[in-house]
């Protein structure tokens, strides 16, 4: 495929040419080969366009047509950061900030990718597929930092926070952090990730995760995407789960002007499990996309996906979910549900569930619904004295309940509840249900 390079793609390729001798790992042969390969892939593809099947509903023209700046090094503390409750890794404009992070005395290794990159041969680029995903190619070409977590076999890692903050820079920076998480056999970790930025700041946050979960290990990955309203968030997660292991991903996709939450999970050993749940809250002027692929590549695995999208004002939501059951994956138990609630006649949702099944003894189901608030329900609440805006908020909360209740981890659920409440405040609605 040859593409006419967009302004933005040409700018990123030019930046790579200028920086290639200075990027982390520049003198390490395998890193150089990895980046060069990614640069070739990105040069060939450019930014994704709507002609690509996986990007039919999400138009990146506004990103491809823009030139983003480099993040500044040594950014001053422009952002208020709440005190850490526990272990935490903080990234400002994509760069690790040891001064703001708390990673001491952990029973596992957690470090800045820029610092340990030369030791990561064979760990980076093994799960991600930049040849198929231009944003992953762009990330591989230009990543400068990221979080590297290694939980040894049998270790219970507890909760680790990953905070990615944008500053209010005039430079409209683009940053492409590469995060690597590996859990040894029987290990466990709760990774609570927050991505946020000032409301008026323009930036591109393009993180790629590579996650390896060994036999019997369990990773709970909670993600709160609360980027500023002018931000662009294009995130790709690749996870591989071994026998008897589990990956729980919950994503609240609530911020950014344009957001894509792309998740690829491969269940590679028998009895592996994936739970992928999410809530998208899309306000006026926003576009939010959740795209998942789930590879059942071993027998006796199960997967559960529940995604709920709420759309207000003039907004657009996308859900694409593909379950691929390989021929070896007998006794697969797969379930996927995506539901959208339209609060405005100008809101739109595109939903594309896909099942590809090559094994003959499987249980797989999927469903999709699109609806509006039930007028009878709304009238009932109002007839009991509850003002209309609050009644709507209560019904939306109720709509989200199923996805939220599927989150087993209390810290993730609590963060999520706060995130939903914050979204309502930004919509100008105070107060939903009162707890009794």
């Amino acid at each position: 495929m040859t593409a006419v390079a967009s302004t933005g793609a040409a700018a990123f390729l030019g930046r790579y040419e200028g920086l290639r001798t200075r990027l982390p790992g520049a003198r390490v042969a395998w890193v150089e080969a990895l980046r060069n390969g990614a640069a070739e892939a990105f040069r060939a593809q450019g930014f994704p366009t709507r002609r690509m099947e996986a990007w039919r509903y999400t138009d990146l023209a506004s990103v491809a047509g823009a030139v983003f700046g480099e993040p500044l090094t040594g950014v001053e503390d422009a952002t208020e950061i709440p005190a850490a409750a526990g272990p935490r890794a903080v990234f400002i404009d994509g760069r690790f900030r040891p001064d703001l992070s708390t990673l001491d005395a952990l029973p596992y290794a957690a470090d800045s990718l820029a610092r340990v990159l030369p030791t990561l041969d064979g760990r980076i680029g093994t799960i991600a597929r930049p040849a198929e995903q231009p944003m992953a190619a762009l990330n591989t070409m230009l990543f400068e930092d990221g979080l590297v977590v290694d939980v040894p076999a049998g270790v219970a890692g507890g909760v680790l926070e990953l905070l990615s903050l944008a500053t209010d820079s005039e430079r409209a920076p683009a940053y492409h952090p590469r995060h690597l998480v590996r859990l040894g056999a029987g290990a466990s970790l709760t990774l609570l990730e927050t991505a946020a930025g000032p409301q008026a700041a323009r930036y591109l946050h393009n993180p790629v995760f590579e996650i390896e979960i060994a036999e019997g290990a369990r990773l709970a990955h909670g993600r709160l995407q609360q980027e500023g309203r002018e931000g662009v968030f294009l995130s790709t997660v690749y996870a591989r789960v071994g026998a008897g292991g589990a990956y729980d991903n919950f994503t609240l996709n609530a911020g950014a002007r344009l957001a894509r939450n792309e998740i690829h999970v491969a269940l590679t050993g028998p009895k592996a499990e994936a739970h992928m749940n999410g809530v998208q809250l899309v306000g006026d002027g926003q576009h939010a996309d959740t795209t998942t692929t789930l590879d059942h590549a071993a027998p006796d695995c199960s997967s559960r996906q529940t995604y709920k999208t709420v759309l207000a004002g003039r907004s657009r939501g996308v859900f694409q979910g593909k379950i691929h059951v390989h021929q070896v994956a007998q006794k697969t138990d797969g379930y996927q549900m995506n539901q959208a609630l339209l609060l405005s006649p100008e809101a739109e949702i595109d939903s594309k569930p896909q099942l590809e099944i090559y094994a003959d003894d499987v249980k797989c189901s999927h469903g999709a619904t699109v609806g509006e608030l039930d007028a009878d329900h709304l009238f009932f609440l109002r007839s009991r004295g509850i003002p209309e805006a609050q009644a709507k908020a209560i019904l939306v909360e109720a709509f989200l309940t199923e996805a939220v209740e599927a989150v087993a981890e209390e810290p993730i659920r609590a963060a999520l509840t706060r995130g939903v409440a914050g979204w309502w405040q930004r919509q100008g609605v105070a107060g939903g249900i009162e707890e009794a």
Partner: protein, 248 residues
């Protein structure tokens, strides 16, 4: 005081109420009886302010306020309560949370102090005990998986909690066994007093053995064709609506 004058209302352009007039003084309980299609439910929805019920003529004043100009939640705050014939189920909305939210919304709008969770639970438990409701009905989602009788009990719990000035019971007795019927009657009777009035809409006379009304009205084709004392209900039970309609 509720004063309905020459009320005309249409649904989907079809006239249902055709000049209904009715005055209910504070402290009084009136019953409206009538055959299917006479406009009973339309009357209750017009009073509660449901969308799609278009008032084409006439007026309703409620304690001096123009009821028809008010939003449904404003009517609730002013003291109007509708007990639904078929209460909706709200998956994902806990019954206790719903009740506390409604109670505090009304209290806030009336300038009264909000109830904290402890005060609320104390009050709710006391009311539920009277209604013979198991406490786990507070924890379940609103009306989800409730039997018909449980849904009506839940309506009566809301009535008892919100303590309105005026209650419209829209065929609350339909489908109820005798115990549930008595529970509905007890709830309404316990609220009776100089500051409470009610409009009991029913098909049958049997509820009126337990809630003895001050006045009984017969509704036919969207108008009241006959009014009388409690004995009118018995007369209807004996002769049927056809007899009254023919005589009117």
């Amino acid at each position: 005081m509720l004063k309905i004058e020459n009320l005309h209302a249409a649904v989907d352009g079809k006239p249902i109420l055709n000049g209904l007039s009715l005055t209910i003084a504070p402290g009084e309980v009136h019953a409206v009886m009538g055959p299917n299609g006479s406009g009973k439910s339309t009357l209750s929805y017009v009073l509660a302010g449901r969308e799609g019920y278009e008032v084409t003529e006439g007026s309703v004043s409620f304690h001096g306020q123009d009821l028809l100009a008010m939003e449904p939640e404003e009517r609730a705050v002013a003291g109007m309560f509708l007990a639904f014939q078929a209460p909706v189920e709200l998956p994902g909305v806990g019954n206790a949370n719903f009740l506390r939210t409604a109670l505090n919304a009304v209290r806030r709008a009336r300038g009264e102090a909000e109830m904290d969770a402890m005060q609320f639970l104390k009050l709710a438990r006391a009311r539920m005990k009277v209604l013979n409701m198991p406490e786990d009905m507070l924890k379940r989602p609103v009306n989800v998986g409730f039997s018909g009788g449980e849904k009506k009990r839940n309506e009566m719990l809301q009535l008892a909690m919100l303590a309105p000035k005026f209650a419209v019971l829209d065929e609350t007795d339909s489908g109820l066994d005798i115990d549930a019927l008595k529970m509905v009657a007890d709830t309404v009777n316990s609220l009776r007093g100089p500051d409470f009035s009610a409009l009991v809409i029913t098909h049958y006379q049997r509820l009126l053995n337990h809630i003895v009304p001050d006045r009984v009205h017969v509704l036919s084709a969207g108008r009241i064709i006959k009014s009388g004392g409690p004995e009118l209900a018995q007369e209807l039970e004996a002769s049927g609506y056809a007899g009254v309609q023919a005589a009117a």
